[in-house]
Amino acid sequence: MSASASPITENTDYRPKAIDSPWKTAWRRFARNRLAVIGTIIIALMFLICFIGPFLSPYGVLDYSLKDKNLSPNTSYWLGTDKLGRDILLRMMLAGRISLLVGLVATIISVIIGCSLGAFAGFYGKKVDTVIMRVADIFMALPSLPILIIMGVVLSDLGVEPNQRIWFLMLIIGVLNWTTIARLVRGQMLTLREQEFMQATEALGLKDRRKIFRHLLPNTIPVIIVTATLGVAGAILSESALSFLGVGVIPPTPSWGNMISAANNLIDFGKRPWLWIPPGMCILITTVAINLIGDGLRDAMDPKTKK
């Protein structure tokens, strides 16, 4: 007998290659996209800094010191102070908590509402479509300012704590902004509905719900992602405008938006850049990171990407 040839059945080294689920493939592709990973790291860091950072600061949330007002960055105040002598670094971190939450939660709300309504409208068409689209029209035509003012008053009347009001703010921003996503999803639905793979699902006799959520929506994800990522930046920026009118984030609670708007005059602009550069950079970095993640997600989920 020469070299032993083992029967194939005993060759335990052979392992059949598992076929990855689409999600796993997407995940792997995402992980290989360097920029997307960087984006994720940045966001994670941002969350970390903003939520944990304040505990490490020597200053308290309510601390102010008028004799230290308007100082440029130095050893005791790393990013300088504002006009009440409050530490900018601490405020920036606290503001981050608010702004990040507002951006994310509001967008999530509008995506959930928008996707569902848009999908139903696009899929069922006819009466359902008409009603939903007209409702969307109404929402689009509503003036947000008076609504927010009323909300501010109602919350005040109900005795809601100023810190809790932020959740209502997120809710309202989300609810007032679902229409864009709904329209886009609906548009996509109208196109995809006519494609061959949908005829296949019809032939298979799939239930409507399955068709919408397992076949059609996943194909609209790229569009949703782009809109959602734009939405987060938009929500963070709208928050800054609203804070001014007393219907957004109420001072002294800081948000990136109200920190920038506090420096909104040519003098602070020129003389005291440490007031607006930190929050401005934060918004910029956050937006860039979110968009990188969004890009990465879209590339990862698109079955036609060769990478």
Partner: protein
């Protein structure tokens, strides 16, 4: 198609009625009225009551609604409490100033966004793509008043190239051409800022759309056929990518006439946006309601336009 349009126009009627009821309810719920907003320390209680009765503010809400709605149907938008002029006249005084800026900003931003989006998609992952993406991000991430002030500081104060604000130079003498050139000079900065604001979203959108289309099989076919890359991109990919974008054109309609509140504040531009904002702050309801309905109407028409354009552009869509 015609049937569709007519049906949509008919549907607008209940929608508008619904909007009018909601808006009116909101205005009734919002605290304060024109008298409280004036906060005049000299006002006696009798005078306040007298005024409220003259303005019709003392009637119960539902009555006020029907009076107002009835007037609106015949085109009477009411009289602005602040301006003491018919609402339509006030709108007419300011809206064209806003339109000029919005219109040119729209043309500029669409042009730049299309170019940026197309090139960004064509040369995905290249340096050009990254640079454009970065520029777009920066435009998108900063509040508008911020960009406005920055530009004023650089171009008006430091370089003294452009005026600080307003639509015209006070006391300017000269003929029509001097006037037109004056307005152009004053409008450059506002238009630039407005453009920068819109480019972000648009460019990203076009890029995504382009990327989707470029990966389609028929593009592969076109290339395989040996067509010039230029033809592939502009004749095939571009046209198909623009289809969803057409929808966006419809949405621009209300923006053209709605005014840009921040811009007008920063540049002292005599637009309708800040007049609208004032009317909300001062509870000038006739104006606030009238203008909101005007914009609602434009929004509805814009939506209709977007849907119709989509139907025309994409033959796969059947509008029923």
């Amino acid at each position: 198609m015609k049937q569709y349009i007519i049906r949509r126009l008919l549907q607008m009627i209940p929608t508008l009625i619904g909007i009018s009821i909601i808006i009116f309810t909101i205005s009734a719920l919002v605290p304060g009225d024109y008298i409280t907003a004036r906060d005049n320390p000299n006002m006696t209680a009798e005078r306040a009551a007298e005024l409220r009765s003259i303005y019709g503010l003392d009637k119960p809400e539902y009555q006020r609604y029907f009076i107002w709605a009835g007037n609106m149907l015949v085109g009477n938008f009411g009289t602005s409490l602040q301006h003491k002029l018919p609402v339509t006249e006030v709108i007419g005084e300011y809206v064209w100033n806003s339109f000029i800026i919005a219109f040119f900003a729209m043309i500029l931003s669409w042009t730049i966004a299309v170019i940026a989006g197309v090139f960004s998609a064509k040369f995905q992952y290249s340096l050009l793509d990254k640079l454009i993406t970065l520029a777009v991000f920066i435009c998108m991430s900063l509040p508008s008043f911020f960009i406005g002030l920055l530009l004023i500081k650089w171009f008006a104060l430091d370089l003294k190239l452009l005026p600080v604000g307003g639509m015209t130079t006070a006391g300017l003498k000269g003929g029509t051409w001097t006037y037109i050139w004056d307005v152009v000079e004053h409008s450059i900065l506002p238009i630039v800022v407005l453009t920068m604001l819109s480019i972000g979203g648009l460019a990203r959108y076009f890029r995504t759309s382009m990327l989707e289309v470029i990966r389609q099989d028929y593009i592969r076919t076109a290339r395989a056929k040996g067509l010039k890359e230029r033809t592939v991109i502009f004749k095939h990919a571009f046209r198909n990518a623009m289809i969803p974008a057409i929808t966006l054109l419809g949405f621009e309609l209300p923006g053209l006439f709605g005014g840009a509140m921040i811009m007008e504040q920063i540049f002292a531009w005599p637009g309708i946006g800040h007049v609208y904002l004032n009317s909300i702050n001062m509870r000038d309801y006739p104006f606030m309601l009238g203008f909101t309905i005007f914009l609602a109407l434009l929004t509805l028409l814009g939506n209709l336009l977007a849907d119709v354009l989509y139907g025309i552009a994409d033959p796969r869509i059947r509008l029923k």
